[in-house]
């Protein structure tokens, strides 16, 4: 089901009402059924994949738990079964076409007269997200960080819970299952916070992301050879804002929908385009994925053993390290995989490698920053980080690696700054978006505390804000485009 639709508004209203009316013992079953309906509204037959992934990890994790730690071989085999099933599903549905096409290209290049044929494969919504969740659950059990869940209902709900099912945030079992087991008590605060987040999310999606989308589509469909450097920057910024509004909209609605039932799911964004370094950027952008990648990919690849969990904000806070090796290799490998996770295309791999190179350079230059404090100035950091981060969206959105290279190459040639080829409005809209983003951040982080000191003014301003939000959402609410992250 798509969040930006009348269907979802109706669905959510019914589910929330039932949740608070039904007795506690039925709530979980109702949520599980609702989650199946939510997913089935896209394609019910693909629910079977989630069941396969969920049951596999339920059985395997219990088996791992029952196996003594001394029997390392059996525990590793069980973990391998979980990984093979989950990554096998992901590999088949997400990467088979990609690898087949690459094999065929390689064969053709080598002059081998053979090619694999493959029929269409529909990428199941959310497969990248729920497989990561089930993998992390089994790995945590394997690491001894959590105990496996005995109740199939609770476990099923952890995997299928509809607000975060299709595009995250990627939830850790330790965070969600505790809440699912508690007997909820209704608080009006849940409704207030939930509604606010849903309104913010819908506004970002239907008013901003969906209206930027046609401009971005037109720009990236154009012949990249014709573009100027100014056009490339404009497209980079526009798509950067589109994907941010789109994905943070989804996260706002997911957090809000869950909050309506008193269940907290993690935040995914924190003003990423205000970041003053790339390290900072990845603490603010798709937080649940970056922490997942860190805990289940980067740290193991770096030779760091994870021994403790704090239960919130990922498990890295409770780390006890035994060794630190291969950090750079782990960095590049992790980011290449992170890129490939986003999509089966070399453009995404390049995007990942681009980020790893920037982070690598940032690390290597740390000694200079330590010696010259002025270089740690946040405004200076922002001025450097923002354009580099935005430019990284070019390969992410480009049709092919060739197009991405052509476009990115433009920005390094001075003569490409002497003309422009897009509609004048596009440049104007980009400038307005940057300005509004900064104003919003300023109001939210600096001004709002002063406004709150004058209750009457705060009340009136907030009412006015909701008037505008509601009018715009009412006007633009249409499921004309999917959330971008659904395709990952």
């Amino acid at each position: 089901m798509i969040f930006n639709s009348v269907t979802f508004v109706l669905f959510l209203t019914i589910v929330v009402m039932l949740y608070w009316v039904l007795p506690n013992r039925i709530k979980g079953w109702m949520l599980l059924l609702a989650s199946c309906v939510f997913y089935g509204f896209w394609r019910w037959e693909y629910l079977s994949l989630i069941f396969v992934s969920a049951v596999n990890d339920y059985v395997v994790s219990n088996a791992i738990y029952k196996t003594p730690e001394s029997n390392k071989r059996r525990r590793k085999v069980l973990l391998a079964i979980s990984l093979i099933v989950n990554l096998g599903l992901l590999g088949y549905f997400k990467y088979l076409i990609f690898f087949t096409e690459n094999f065929n290209t390689a064969f053709a290049t080598l002059g081998i007269d053979y090619s694999f044929t493959i029929r269409n494969i529909i990428l199941p919504f959310g497969i990248s997200f729920y497989t990561f969740e089930t993998i992390s659950y089994t790995v945590d059990v394997y690491r001894g960080l959590i105990k496996p869940e005995r109740s199939l209902l609770n476990y099923g709900l952890f995997v299928l819970y509809f607000p975060k099912l299709v595009a995250g945030p990627i939830q850790r079992a330790s965070e969600l299952m505790v809440q699912l087991k508690q007997k909820p008590i209704f608080k009006s605060e849940y409704i207030e916070v939930g509604l606010k987040r849903i309104l913010y999310g819908l506004f970002l999606k239907v008013a901003l992301a969906d209206n930027i989308s046609p401009i971005v589509d037109e720009g990236f469909a154009a012949n990249p050879d014709l573009l100027s450097a100014i056009d490339v920057w404009t497209l980079a910024f526009l798509f950067g804002f589109q994907i941010y509004f789109d994905f943070s909209a989804y996260s706002h609605i997911a957090v809000g929908a869950s909050k309506l039932m008193g269940i907290t799911i993690p935040e995914n964004f924190n003003y990423p385009y205000i970041a003053s370094s790339f390290k900072d950027f990845w603490k603010r952008w798709h937080i649940s994925l970056s922490s997942w990648i860190r805990d289940y990919l980067y740290l193991p690849l770096s030779g760091i053993k994870v021994k403790k969990t704090t239960g919130t904000g990922g498990i890295a806070e409770g780390l006890e390290t035994t060794a630190k090796v291969n950090k750079n290799r782990a960095l590049f490998l992790t980011w290449a995989i992170m890129g490939l996770w986003h999509g089966a295309n070399w453009t995404f791999v390049f995007w990942g490698v681009y980020h790893s190179v920037i982070i690598y350079v940032e690390r290597k230059l740390k000694f200079i920053r330590d010696k010259v404090p002025a270089l740690n100035n946040k405004v200076l950091g922002w001025c450097i980080t923002l354009p580099i981060a935005m430019l990284s969206w070019i390969p992410f959105r480009a049709e092919s690696l060739g197009d991405a290279f052509t476009m990115m190459g433009k920005v390094f040639v001075p003569s490409n700054y002497l003309f422009r080829t897009m509609r004048e409005n596009n440049y104007l809209i980009t400038a307005v978006l940057v300005l509004l983003f900064l104003i919003t951040h300023f109001v939210d982080k600096r001004l709002s505390k002063y406004i709150q000191k004058v209750p009457a003014m705060s009340f009136v301003l907030n009412c006015a804000k909701f008037v505008v939000l509601i009018i715009i959402i009412f006007t633009f609410l249409r499921p004309i485009s999917q959330f971008i992250y659904f395709q990952f």
């Binding site: 109706l10 269409n120 605060e189 014709l226 080829t421 509609r423 499921p479 659904f486």
Partner: protein, 385 residues
């Protein structure tokens, strides 16, 4: 109750009253720029339209049944933008050049017209293909406005017949055809509420034409709910108007802040220019392949005020299309840019706040239509030989 909840509730109530009070009027945003002096007009005979400004199923049937009643003659299809369906300072009994030409040739061919506001060359190409598959189009007349080269994509909101019938251009070897087909599929998805198909991935060899056929339970439910809401709530039904109103306000705000008016020189947009030029070449190729005699012409523009174009761009553009026409034996080219004297034009609604009216470069009076009909008639007679 918590203060935050009260704020949301108050916001919702105020928003409801604003929507009901200010957004319940029906406005035609496609022709908003015409203003009060200029009136939209579609030529018609006793019972049927001769000229459509919106290609929907009912109007298409109406036009075709008229053609049948008049003896199913060969068709001369006039394509255009709002210049074709507008008369400045209209008086009773007046018609557009479509009506005038229809009457002039009623014994030999059926002159019919289709126009839509801000048409792009992609619109002209698409609609010529569409009409020639439904009517025996032997002659076609297409104006080449420089303004239209700044437009992008197709105006699918005026092409519901094509969207409903899931029309696609058959020759998928041309990039421009694939682009137009994609635009049509997007329009179909928008109309049917289908967006779930974005996640369908395909191997390179397969086209995605058949993808739009699939409808998920979400699509069906959404379409049903919207239909029900449309039927019970005028406010809900008027949401497209509200969207138009909001975008129009932003457009006027931009023009006011930046001092943009109808007279402001508009530069070419190279990306769009190239795409539209590609569409023009596809149109010329199509006319040649389908044995359609084609007249392309530089349309009249107001000459008593400085042109809102970069004059170098305009000159190169005219030379380019003139040179193109020479390459096709079935195509003739004319330049009518100075055909209509300044006094036969008028003013249009202002496109910014705090201004009453602006010079109208696009729409002229009935006498202008007569002059253009005479000019076109001369060229059409040459085509008939």
């Amino acid at each position: 109750m918590r203060s935050g909840l009260i704020q949301i509730l108050v916001g919702a109530i105020v928003a409801y009253f604003i929507i009901v009070k200010f957004f319940s009027n029906d406005k035609d945003f496609g022709n908003l720029a015409l203003g009060t002096q200029t009136v939209m007009y579609q030529a018609f005979d006793d019972t049927n339209f001769l000229h459509l400004v919106r290609l929907d199923d009912t109007l298409e049937r109406n036009l075709i049944s008229g053609w049948k009643l008049r003896g199913q003659k060969d068709v001369c299809m006039l394509l255009g933008n709002s210049q074709m369906h507008s008369i400045n300072q209209i008086e009773n009994g007046q018609t557009t050049y479509v009506g005038l030409l229809h009457n002039r040739y009623e014994d030999s061919v059926d002159v019919l017209g289709y126009s839509c506001p801000n048409a792009s060359l992609q619109d002209y190409y698409l609609t010529l293909c569409y009409w020639s598959e439904r009517l025996p189009v032997k002659y076609a007349v297409v104006p080449l406005f420089l303004d239209d080269m700044r437009e992008e994509g197709i105006r699918h909101e005026f092409l519901s017949a094509l969207v409903n019938s899931r029309y696609q251009l058959s020759d998928t070897t041309r990039d421009i055809n694939n682009k137009i087909n994609t635009d049509l599929r997007k329009a179909w998805n928008e109309q049917g509420g289908s967006s779930a198909n974005n996640a369908i991935r395909m191997s390179e060899a397969e086209t995605s034409v058949d993808v739009v056929e699939e409808k998920t339970p979400q699509d069906k439910t959404e379409a049903y709910l919207n239909k029900e809401l449309d039927s019970v709530s005028k406010v809900w039904r008027n949401r497209p108007n509200v969207r138009g109103e909001l975008f129009n306000s932003l457009y006027k705000l931009r023009n006011t802040v930046l001092g943009i008016s109808a007279s402001t020189v508009r530069e070419m947009i190279p990306q769009r220019y190239e795409t539209n030029m590609e569409a023009l070449i596809a149109l010329l190729d199509y006319s040649k392949a389908h044995d359609i005699k084609l007249l392309i012409y530089i349309p009249p523009i107001r000459s008593d005020a400085p042109l809102p174009y970069n004059l170098d761009d305009y000159k190169k553009y005219k030379e380019k299309v003139a040179a193109l026409a020479i390459e096709y034996p079935n195509v003739s080219f004319e330049n009518f840019e100075d055909a209509i004297p300044g006094e036969l034009w008028g003013y249009k609604e202002a496109t910014s706040y705090f201004v009453d009216k602006e010079i109208d470069y696009m729409h002229f009076q009935y006498k202008g239509h007569q002059i253009l009909a005479d000019k076109l008639s001369h060229s059409i007679n040459l085509m008939f030989r």
